[in-house]
Subunit: 481 residues, 2 copies
């Protein structure tokens, strides 16, 4: 909270981001290296994401459970790609209860190993399948270059873990959960995403393949916002997770895992925010409507407050989340800026003149200036608010979609790709059939990686822009967080 | 799940407890010393507790936030009683990202210290008070003698932390939260509790005083089920948490903390369970009504299933949580035992004969034999279920209250106290004005501790049963978990 102007996005996007995060009180810095404190306003955003996801998980037959925070070091090492991927990031507990431990524990970076072991114990026969489990938890991955919500040494997430009788069922599950992430991003967070397959180089350590949703931030960079992994039989083999078929044969299970984290809060900040601050999508906004009283004396104050309290209560009864800002000693102008910074979708102002006319003034956060304001009769105010929240949700998505469309460029050759990436013009879309080594070369030369091969591929194909090889697939290249 | 009979409570209560926990699939053992896996059925119980508490916290103005899992070792040491209380139980992270850390981190055993530091940063003036924060999280306290849900090295809980301008406000908050815990226990979990003050010896490390709710388990032992601490200015001084008064003076804040954990799941198991297994209070039961089809052939099966599906859907629409057990290859008798073990409050059976008569059979889990059964017309079934769930909730509370009343014994002298405690006859209630050393002596000689000084004290007082001193207070002595 402050009168100070934010650093404009165009001047220094990273600085703008940090200022918004801390001044809007989404988070505070902490004394623990790489960790933040998620303050109530940021945590409510996460709770809204969590509630929506949790409903979707339960509606598709998943159940929540909780597994230990600590994982014996030997478990992490059982799946060879897995340990290679995670070992540089591990936090290790060596002492407990005043003694040195015989075997150190790793603080979970993810739980495939400890859950794999549990599944192996729980699953006997095909009757126990599919086993559909989700866990809401904290995880730790040591970060050398932390950024609030985007990369922190500890973060909050959900991790789904499922076991199936067939390859096909596991693949269907992997795609179903990707679809749920896409729905959360697009419908709740109003963020258009590209859903697609990761390249071999970018996939999860231990997976057969990884699907991802990739969102474009307003600096043109990509943010991986949710991933869903088909683990094949890799973890089932590592943990001897077998089931008895109806024909009395022992077979390895097919497993999946999928996760979305507090990183999604970062996605919302960077996909919608502008130079005045956050712009929160109504469906997830902790406060959907802020009510600001305007008055010059005590008599005016009590009249205005009485009416605003009635409006606020009416909004609550309709299932809308209002907040009446009755703080004293602050000017209306200060409050306007403060709630703009905090991204509240809609503002209601009421002063003595409005009251006399039987009106309130509504101001949209997503449309600045006069175009975003309207004066409505107090009686009509509640239904107008309802309509406007729907419009704002749609408009934030439409704006972000337009921004995305404007910043994805089809490129025919490496020169064009370099121009797009190095000129910070957005993402490059191109036909690709190169190797992991080719991809690495592009990354080293331009900082861009393949974000994904979109699920929807054109019917007719062209050769790879880099190697000329066929068959090629459409790939999206971008600098990423 | 199994046909096997449980060890009777009277034979070996601890063994009965473990069998119920694992066979009802509330939890699994884990490869991590002192830690369990909370399975979906156990986790749903915790989710129900959590949802009820979270609503109560929000209704009283508290907001959720999230603080780091790791706490710099030096922080824990700032409040001298606090470090003394917790140091034997700490888990320590010494390595992160492949390197030894300069300062080790402690895995939070509770968060007064790191939250105290944050509050000191956030609070400037009286306008920032009261600050009312809650955190849902995992904590770690190394346990040498772990027991599922009751004492595990990692457990889930909520920890509330608040800061106030005056001693009186902090005290009012401490008592308000105790009342919320009492309501949760009595109204939702159907467990009568004694609310009271802890003795000096038993209070939280760093608190001025600690309130507790104490519940009686069916083996006569006490379980501390929720605590609320008035921290005075101890942590405010340790973390320099000051505020500017309206008169422009700097004053230390007055703080509180309060917590309830997954231990509450253990309380529900041990306060209500009997030799057939769990008996879950309807308000928290993951499944409130189980529907069991009875049939001898495919035609009967499809008729019975069709009707049960309709009943199940009707129950869902009334906000009741039903489960239709359509597992094949299991006898109805097996299913009856299985759901009794799992403590589902109400069972609906439907077979061809019931169907022909237009009836279903309802069986209460809380009343065994014929007395707990009734046959009702299918059309009346849903409203009867609704009524019965309310009755079962009340009856479980009444039974537990009767058990508690029968097992609290007023004692006049040490000899009587020893008879009660050493004879495992329950709790001893007595006038007390002894010292901490006196209390310790009683504990060493009988294993009983003072569970609390109940909030409601009789008006006329008698001298201490142990020392003869006055003024004395009524104290409850018991062996405790």
């Amino acid at each position: 909270m402050s009168d100070q102007r934010l650093t404009p996005q165009a001047e220094d996007f990273a600085r703008w981001y940090n200022e918004v995060v801390y001044r809007a009180e989404l988070a505070s810095q902490s004394p623990v290296r790489g960790c933040i404190i998620i303050r109530p306003y940021g945590f409510e955003l996460w709770e809204a994401i969590k509630n929506s996801l949790d409903q979707k998980f339960k509606a598709t037959g998943h159940q929540n459970a909780y597994f230990p925070l600590f994982i014996p070091q030997s478990y992490i090492q059982r799946e060879s790609e897995h340990i290679e991927g995670f070992s540089p990031e591990l936090a290790v507990v060596t002492h407990g209860g005043g003694k040195e431990l015989e075997e150190p524990y790793v603080v979970r970076p993810t739980s495939e190993t400890i859950i794999g072991e549990a599944f192996a114990n729980w699953i006997q026969s095909y009757r126990d399948l599919p086993l559909l489990i989700n866990q809401w938890s904290n995880v730790v991955r040591w970060e050398l270059r932390p950024r609030a919500f985007l990369r922190t040494s500890e973060f909050l997430w959900q991790e789904g873990h499922t076991a199936h009788a067939t390859r096909e069922e596991a693949e269907a599950e992997t795609r179903q959960m990707l679809q749920i992430y896409e729905d959360l991003a697009q419908e709740d967070a109003a963020i258009p995403v590209f859903s697609g397959l990761k390249s071999e180089k970018e996939r999860f350590a231990g997976a057969v393949h990884t699907y991802t949703i990739e969102a474009m931030m307003r600096d043109g960079r990509a943010l991986q916002s949710g991933t869903s992994h088909n683990l094949g039989q890799n973890f089932a083999r590592a943990f001897d997770m077998k089931y008895l078929t109806p024909e009395n044969k022992q077979e390895f299970c097919w497993t999946t895992s999928w996760g979305m984290s507090t990183r999604m809060v970062g996605a919302i900040i960077m996909a919608h925010g502008n130079d005045q601050g956050l712009r929160l999508p109504p469906r997830l906004a902790p406060i959907q409507v802020v009510l600001i009283p305007i008055h010059r004396n005590e008599e005016q104050r009590s009249q205005v407050m009485e009416k605003l309290q009635a409006i606020s209560q009416g909004l609550s009864e309709r299932g809308i989340r209002p907040h009446l800002d009755d703080r004293e000693g602050l000017t209306p102008g200060y409050k306007f800026n403060d709630w703009e910074l905090r991204g509240v979708p809609l503002r209601i102002e009421l002063g003595p003149r409005d009251l006399a006319g039987g009106n309130v003034t509504l101001s949209r956060r997503d449309v600045s200036g006069k175009a975003g304001k309207q004066i409505v009769a107090i009686e009509a105010c509640q239904s107008t608010v309802e309509d406007l929240l729907v419009q704002i949700q749609r408009n934030l998505f439409a704006e972000a979609k337009q921004f995305q469309d404007d910043h994805v460029h089809d490129v025919k050759n490496y020169e064009e790709l370099r121009q797009v990436i190095e000129g910070n013009a957005g993402w490059a879309r191109a036909w690709w059939a190169g190797s992991g080594a080719d991809e690495l070369r592009i990354q080293q030369e331009t900082s861009a990686t393949i974000r994904c091969f979109p699920m929807e591929q054109p019917e007719s194909a062209e050769p790879c822009f880099f190697t000329g090889a066929t068959p090629a697939q459409i790939a999206l290249f971008a600098k990423a967080y």
